[in-house]
């Protein structure tokens, strides 16, 4: 059940990443995420923003339930992300975007928005 939704449209680029991290921190803080869990989720979003390519803006939607934050990041025009996330399992020793996300969030996936654009979904569960 989605209890609350927070949406943020931000310019894509390093100067605005702190704003995204602060919003994530504010949400995670209210959900009693541990500092490490927050850091993991921030890292996942940072990696996606970095890989998003040359588009001007990015939309982040945070669906907050009583046990998890589900984050949608998109639209992503860099289709290599889809290949990276849907490709074969990383070989041992490979450090791919997929492996990073597998480590730092509980689940992730690719979705298409209503307008057919690529969106990545990240879910991080509260442990306590």
């Amino acid at each position: 059940m989605v209890a609350d939704r927070i949406e943020l449209v931000a310019p894509l680029g390093a100067p605005w990443e702190p704003v995204v991290r602060l919003v994530l921190g504010g949400i995670a803080g209210r959900m009693n995420f541990g500092f490490e869990e927050l850091d993991d989720l921030q890292l996942a979003v940072e990696r996606l923003l970095l890989e998003a390519g040359s588009q001007d803006t990015i939309r982040l939607v945070f669906d907050v339930t009583d046990r998890a934050i589900r984050t949608h990041v998109g639209p992503l025009r860099e289709t290599a992300i889809a290949d990276a996330l849907q490709g074969p399992e990383p070989s041992p020793g490979d450090l791919t975007l997929r492996r990073i996300l597998e480590t730092v969030v509980d689940s992730f996936g690719l979705e298409l928005s209503d307008s057919g654009e690529l969106v990545v979904r990240l879910e991080k569960v509260v442990r306590r």
Binding site: P18, G25, N32, L43, T96, I100
Partner: protein, 248 residues
């Protein structure tokens, strides 16, 4: 003390010879351990500038290790003498690179300096990674202030990750990346970081391996390698950013 129980003392010079001529890693470790008090003494000079002492010590230790690795046996100078400017240079460069790229109010800098030891202590006391409200309560401040202070602490200048050699002759840690892996032409796999991983300095590579292959938490890695959890977090980001810079 009877001679049979006296631990034989091996000079710095002999340890340096064993390390550089025979590749004796134990000699290197002994040298590092022997000179860590020097690093601590030098690091204390920089307390009160918005960084936790243990983080400054970690940075200084990198300078010590570089000094040991670069020491030339033909030099007729004590290791402590040779290492001191290296340690100070590493610390100064850390502050310069970090440099509070945006103007951070002094109160936030001071709060930031308290965060790392507070998180370490709360993690031990609570048995879990503390939440932002728990950190705020412990520091008698608000969660928003904690978040701002955390953000202030992560305000590393992105430029510092790719500036290359510095004007004072020191080498940026990211420049210690090996040059043997030239597979950058695989740039169509933009999300694949493996080639750059192979070129990372061994310490960073080991941290990434522990985090993303073994699945250790930041706290577990911090305990394993003897740095703060926040420092592990920064090293992970710095390594990933450095790898990406190379791929780009």
């Amino acid at each position: 003390m009877p001679s049979s129980t006296r631990r034989s003392f091996v000079s710095d010079r002999e340890l340096l010879r064993r390390y550089h001529e025979q590749g004796d890693r134990h000699a290197r470790d002994e040298l590092i351990e022997r000179h860590l008090p020097l690093v601590r003494a030098l690091a204390r000079r920089y307390v009160g500038r918005g960084e936790a002492l243990d983080d400054i010590e970690q940075v200084g230790a990198i300078g010590l290790i570089k000094a040991i690795d670069r020491y030339e046996l033909s030099r007729n100078v004590a290791l402590a003498t040779y290492a001191t400017p290296n340690v100070l240079g590493e610390i100064k460069r850390h502050f310069r690179d970090k440099g509070w790229a945006i103007r951070i109010p002094r109160g936030l800098q001071e709060l930031n300096a308290k965060l790392s030891p507070t998180i370490e202590r709360l993690t031990r006391d609570l048995g879990h990674s503390p939440s932002i409200p728990e950190i705020a309560a412990d520091l008698d401040t608000t969660p928003e202030q904690v978040l701002e202070a955390l953000e202030a602490g992560s305000a590393y200048s992105p430029v510092s990750l790719s500036v290359g050699s510095t004007s004072d002759g020191e080498i940026d840690p990211m420049d210690t990346l090996g040059a043997e892996d030239e597979e950058y032409e695989r740039s169509e796999q933009r999300a694949t970081l493996a080639p750059a991983l192979a070129a990372l300095a061994s310490r960073e590579r080991e941290i990434l391996r522990m985090r993303f292959e073994e699945g250790l938490t930041q706290t577990q890695i911090a305990q394993e390698i003897g740095v703060s959890q926040m420092h592990v977090s920064r090293l992970i980001r710095k390594s990933l950013a450095g790898m990406r810079t190379r791929l780009s």
